[in-house]
Symmetry: C3
Subunit: 189 residues, 3 copies
Amino acid sequence: MGEVNIIIGLSGVGKGTVLEQAMLITDEDYKVINYGDRMVEIAKDQRLVDSRDDLKKLDTETNKQLQKDAAESIFDDAEDNDVIVETHAAIQTPFGYLPGLPKWTLENLEPSKIIMLRAEPKAIYERTLEDDSRDREHEEVEQIEEYQEVAREMASTGAVLTGAYLSVIENPDGHAEQAAEDLIEVLRG
Amino acid sequence: MGEVNIIIGLSGVGKGTVLEQAMLITDEDYKVINYGDRMVEIAKDQRLVDSRDDLKKLDTETNKQLQKDAAESIFDDAEDNDVIVETHAAIQTPFGYLPGLPKWTLENLEPSKIIMLRAEPKAIYERTLEDDSRDREHEEVEQIEEYQEVAREMASTGAVLTGAYLSVIENPDGHAEQAAEDLIEVLRG
Amino acid sequence: MGEVNIIIGLSGVGKGTVLEQAMLITDEDYKVINYGDRMVEIAKDQRLVDSRDDLKKLDTETNKQLQKDAAESIFDDAEDNDVIVETHAAIQTPFGYLPGLPKWTLENLEPSKIIMLRAEPKAIYERTLEDDSRDREHEEVEQIEEYQEVAREMASTGAVLTGAYLSVIENPDGHAEQAAEDLIEVLRG
C-alpha cells in the first residue's frame, strides 16, 4: 500500500512549478493526481455532467457524493503507488471560502501528509498581478493574507481529523528549486 | 427546503446593526433566529430552566443535548424559509473560549454558509470602551485580537466539518451600510 | 467523576515550571499525567515496544490504536480524580507538524478544558537557544511563530470537536508565578 500525500497552495504560490521540479529530481515514483480533474472524470463517467463548468450546477448532496467518490478512487490508486493529490484547502468564491478538503473527502483520502506551499502575500500578489493598476494593492495583499491564513486553518483541521502531518513549505521568489528539494525531503519522511 | 446561514462576530463588531440594515434593504425573506434565545425557549419548554441565567447550571450532557435540540429545531424552521442564525463561534469566559458551534451543533444545523463579521481589534476596543481609563488599552486590544483569531479558527473548523462556505465580511467604522450590502451579496450566493 | 484537563505548549514555553508551581499553591488535588509516558507504559504492557524509541517504528494503525488506548486509560483515571494531561497539540518533525491531539485521542479523552501556555516566539527562541550563534535568529523566530500558530489552530479544532474550553495563558519572562495563578484560576472554573 502506498501513501496519499496532499499538496495545497493558493494560485500564484508556484505549486505547479515546484511540483514539476520535484518530480524531475526525485528518485521515487509518485502518481500525481489533480483532485478537480478526477472529480470531472468521475462526474462524466456517471453522466452527471458534460463539462467541468456543469459541476457548479450540481446540488449539494450530489456534489458531496462526487467528492467522496473521487476521494475513494484516489485512495484506490494508492494501492500500488505513492500518490500526490493536487488540490486546495480553501477555494475563494464571491460567497466565501469553500473548503476544498471537507471532512468526508479527508476521511476517504486517509492522507499521510498535507503539504502546504506558501509565500508572502505580497509576493503572491506580484505574481498574479494582471494589469499595471496598483490602486487596490494594500487591500488585495490583505485579502491574500486572509485567504492563506484560512487555508492553513482548514488544513490544520484536516490534520486533526486524519492524523496526517501538516507540512508548510516556503516558496520565496527565485527559490523554487530549494522548495522542490524541501518537498522531496518531506515526501520521503 | 431553505438554507441555514450562520452569522457570527464578537460583541462590538456591529453584528446587530449590519444585520438589521441588511434585512431592511434585501428583497429576500429570511427568518432571523438567535441561537441563544432558541436554547432558552427549548430549555423552558423542557422545564429544565426558569430563566436564561439557569442555563449555566445545567450539567455538560444536558447542555449538549439542549444544543442539539436547538440546532434541530432551527433546521426544521429552514424547511419553509431561508434562515439566518445569530450566534458566536467562540464565547469568552474566565475559563477560556467556549466553542459556540461545537461539532454536534454544526452537524444538526447543516449550514450552507458561516458568515463572520469582523473589524480591527482597535476599533472593537473603542466601540466597547466603557470608561475613560485607557491604562490597559494595549493589553486589551491584544486580547480582542486573540479572541477574534480563535473565533475564525473555530469557524474554519466548522466549515471543514460541514462543507459550508466561510465568508469574512469587514465592518470598519462608519461603513455598516457597505457591510450590509456585502452580507446580502453573500447570502444571495 | 473528575474532569480531564489538557495542558499544551511548545517546549521552551515553560510548561513544566508553571505546572509545578501551580500544583504547589493550589488547594485542589490533580493527578498529572504525561500523555507520552502513558503511551510508552501501555505499549510496554502490550509488548509492542521495549523502549520509548521503539514507538516511532510502530505502523500507523498500531500507533493509532495505542493513542486511543492511552486516552481511554487516562479517561478512566478521571473517574476518581481531576486529571491534568500534559501533551502537545502539534509535534514538530522534519516532515511537518504531527497532531498530538488527533480526533480519536480527543474523543476518548473527553476533555473539559484545553489549556495552552504561550509566550512570545522571541522569548521561546531565547529560552531554547543552545549556542551563541545567532545567524539564523530571524528565521528561527519565524518558525517558532508558525509552530505556535499551528498548535493553536489544532487546539481550536480540538475544542470544536469536543466542546472543551480553549484557554490561552501567557507566560512572559519572569512571570511564571502569575501564569501558575492564572492556570489555577482556569482549572477551578
